[in-house]
Structures are given as C-alpha cells and as structure tokens.
Amino acid sequence: MQIVNLMTSDPVTIDQHDTLSKAKSMMDAGNFRRVPVVDGGRLVGILTERDLREYTGYLESTRVNAAMHTPLITVTPYNTVEDAARLMLKHKIGGLPIIVGDALVGIVTTSDLLRAFLVVVAGTNRIMNP
C-alpha cells in the first residue's frame, strides 16, 4: 500500500514566524498534536504538542521556529505505508510530513497506520502470539 492512499492531504500548517500561542489555538481547534511548519510553501519543520509544553508560560512571546523540530524526517506519497511505519518506529515519532520536492502535500500519523492495519489484518492475531 502506498502512502498516497492513506495520507491526510493538504494539512493545516503554521508559519515559522507565528507565535506558539497561535499554534496551540490551531491544534486545540483541530484536535491534532502536530503541525507542519512552513516558510512560504516550503516545509521547514514540525511542531508537536510536546514541543509546546516545553514553553508553557511563554507561548505568546515565542516564535514557532524556536520550538519546532528540524531536521525533518519525511516520506513521499509513493513510499509504502510499511516504510512510514518503520521510520516512525526507528525515530520514535508519531507522524511524518509527506513531501514532493520541497512542497508539503500531506501528513501521515500512527492513527492512519492503525486504520491501515485494520484494513489488511484479519482479526485473528492473539496478543500473546501476534
């Protein structure tokens, strides 16, 4: 299965010069825990809820680019879903931006992979003997 079949296309993004309080409002409103950071249309980082917590009390006065994660671990729409799963496990992360060239085209998260797992696996694997 290719990521293009599973990803959230055209995700909500935040500009690297915006404040963390704006990022928090977006995450709360959209009910997500990570947001890709862009400069123009170019992906420059990713900001997670965990990053925000490091700046509690300073959200209004801190810019996104001070708290975001770089360098980025990314995939393309034509990598497989298994590739995405391996990268998330290896780097212990919950989501991957999807890029074509420099342009952000989507995002894939562990929640998407849970859905993919349910699609491909018949419900017969016991937890004790997966």
Partner: protein, 140 residues
C-alpha cells in the same frame, strides 16, 4: 506486547514517574498495587501535573523560580483511574480498534486481575510491518 512492564505505585512522585518515562523513552506508565492495575499516567498527565494540581499561573511562575513541585505531587493525584484494558485473548485488531476509537497510545493487558503486559501503538506498527513484508525490506 511488552513484558515486563515498567510501572509506578500510587504514592510515587511525579518526578520519579517522569524519570522512568525519560529513561525508557515511553509515553505511559501503568500504576499498580501488588500487580493489580489501579491507574495509568501518560507523559501528558505528568507534564501537566504541576498546572493540574496547583493552578496554571502559579505553576508557570514556580517552575522557573524554585524547585519543581514534581517532587511533592504523587502519581495518584494525576493518574487516570478508569483505565481501558484488554486480556491476552483479545486480538491485535481489537487493540488497534480501541486505540483509534479512544485516541489512546497504549492499552494495559490484564489477566486474572494482574497486569500482564502493555500493548502500544509501536506494537501495532510492528505487527503491520510483519503482516505486510515478512522479509523486512524497505527504506531506513
């Protein structure tokens, strides 16, 4: 699922729980008394603990002026007590469905009232890879 499970006791401090979470790079800790599951604390519960217990404004001030209140707050004051669990007889798909529906990252596995293990989203990703590519090829 993961065995053995790292756990804390209800009277352990938030500071101790945070230290375990950082040392083992995990996001959840079951809370047990004599192997019986009584709650669960997440990374998020622990990071929010000072605010939840003492009030956000005071915590924000204190966190930067003096010693962390995490040494004084106990796990039981911030844990979730209504824990969603499964048994070893459930399927991995059951676990994936529950994680999706409840938007949770891990499910304690309980057998005969005792904590037997924990199943996390990472375990589902691993199961997914094994189900799709038994030879284990792919990008690194």
């Amino acid at each position: 699922m993961k065995i053995p499970v790292h756990t804390v006791k209800p009277r352990d401090t938030v500071a101790r729980a945070r230290a375990l979470i950082e040392e083992y790079r995990i996001n959840q800790l079951p809370v047990v008394v004599n192997r019986v599951l009584v709650g669960i604390v997440t990374d998020r519960d622990l990071r929010d603990a000072p605010a939840a217990v003492t009030g956000a404004a005071e915590a924000a001030t204190r966190a930067h002026l003096s010693a962390s209140p995490a040494d004084k707050i106990t796990v039981e004051s911030v844990m979730t007590t209504n824990v969603l669990t499964l048994t070893p007889a459930h399927t991995v798909a059951d676990a994936a469905r529950l994680m999706r529906r409840e938007r949770i990252g891990a499910i304690p596995i309980v057998e005969h009232n005792a904590l037997a293990g924990i199943l996390t989203r990472s375990d589902i990703l691993t199961a997914f890879i094994e189900a799709n590519e038994p030879e284990g090829k792919g990008i690194e």
